[in-house]
């Protein structure tokens, strides 16, 4: 059948069919059924309630890169807060009203003129969800996970990030019980900026470590 289709069209060039129906991108029917079966069993067995589940989804939906940007901007303007953030990220987040009580431990990694951090989870997709929300699709891709530890500078270059040779690129593979968030360096040319203005410069990608924030952006 596939061959017949190809041959039928070989006499005229054509690109991707713009009128093709939108393909289903969600989970397969099998995995959706499995998820529902497990969820209903867990609720039926009293492991958690439907309300617990709803609250957890609400919590997840409330987390996004802007939450992380708030932490980073505060750290840029308040050296004492920065020290507390580096020492105990979850406690520092709580200071800003970000509830991380049920989340895995988070460690904040400070970029310096001599060291740049890049976060990956080669085993799956561990990510500081309590602060940044759901990770981007590329973060979960086998390509990123395999290449970040092998060719970090190549990966960085594809994100438009070029670091001098004398900067150590430190790839942090979140293999276990900690989640990692990068504290980028405060961009030059932002003297006197307030927290809100600084926070706009702090992107999701800069907190994963694939980019570096700049005041120009």
């Amino acid at each position: 059948m596939a061959d017949a289709h190809v041959h039928a069209h070989q006499d005229h060039p054509h690109g991707p069919d713009e009128h093709a129906p939108i393909a289903a991108h969600g989970p397969s029917p099998e995995s959706a059924l499995l998820e529902r079966a497990i969820r209903e069993l867990l609720i039926e067995q009293g492991v958690f309630t439907a309300d617990d589940l709803r609250r957890q989804i609400d919590l997840m939906d409330s987390r996004n890169p802007a939450v992380g940007a708030k932490l980073i901007a505060r750290a840029w303007v308040d050296p004492a807060f920065k020290q507390r953030l580096l020492a105990n990220a979850k406690a520092a987040a709580e200071e800003l009203g970000i509830d991380c009580s049920n989340a895995p431990d988070v460690m904040v990694l400070e970029n310096t003129p001599k060291r740049h951090h890049l976060v990956v989870c080669t085993l799956c997709s561990c990510y500081p969800k309590a602060i940044l929300g759901i990770p981007p699709a590329w973060y979960k891709s086998p390509e990123y996970r395999a290449r970040a530890v092998k060719d970090p500078r190549g990966v960085l270059a594809e994100f438009g990030t070029h670091l001098p040779d004398d900067v150590e690129v430190r790839v942090v593979d979140s293999t276990a019980d900690l989640r990692y968030l990068v504290l980028p360096m405060r961009p030059a040319g932002t003297d006197g900026w307030d927290e809100d203005r600084l926070a706009v410069l702090v992107t999701r990608d800069s907190m994963i470590g694939v980019t570096v924030p700049t005041a120009a952006s």
């Binding site: 431990d105 080669t122 085993l123 530890v149 092998k150 060719d151 970090p152 500078r153 040779d165 004398d166 150590e168 690129v169 430190r170 790839v171 942090v172 593979d173 979140s174 293999t175 276990a176 019980d177 900690l178």
Partner: protein
């Protein structure tokens, strides 16, 4: 179980439990098995995920270490490429003291 401190040279056990007949859940990446690194810091004790994955308690908790590796040493033939490093979080039962290096 040896307790390591920052700066200790360690080797990741060159074990492959996945190759056995029993189902396992291992959080030590393949690319680090048998490799040598330096203990960066202790991260505290956590229930063993290899047991948690199968509904067990994971107790006693295992010490988790952040271990630093030289990237170029992990991937021979990819250029020495400066002092770039890879750190990973590894449980105590995956680490052994590394022998003194010769030369």
């Amino acid at each position: 179980m040896t307790i390591f401190v920052p700066g200790d040279r360690v080797r990741v056990r060159n074990d492959w439990p996945e190759a056995g007949p029993v189902r396992v859940h291992i959080r030590t990446p393949h690319y680090l098995r048998g490799r040598e690194g330096i203990v960066e810091r202790q991260l505290g004790s956590f229930p063993n995920p290899e047991e948690l994955a199968f509904g067990k308690s994971g107790l006693p908790a295992r010490m988790l270490y952040q271990v630093r590796f030289v990237r170029a040493g992990l991937w021979p033939g990819t250029g020495d490429g400066s002092a770039d490093t890879v750190v990973a979080d590894l449980y105590e039962h995956w680490l052994e003291p590394a022998e003194e290096r010769h030369g």
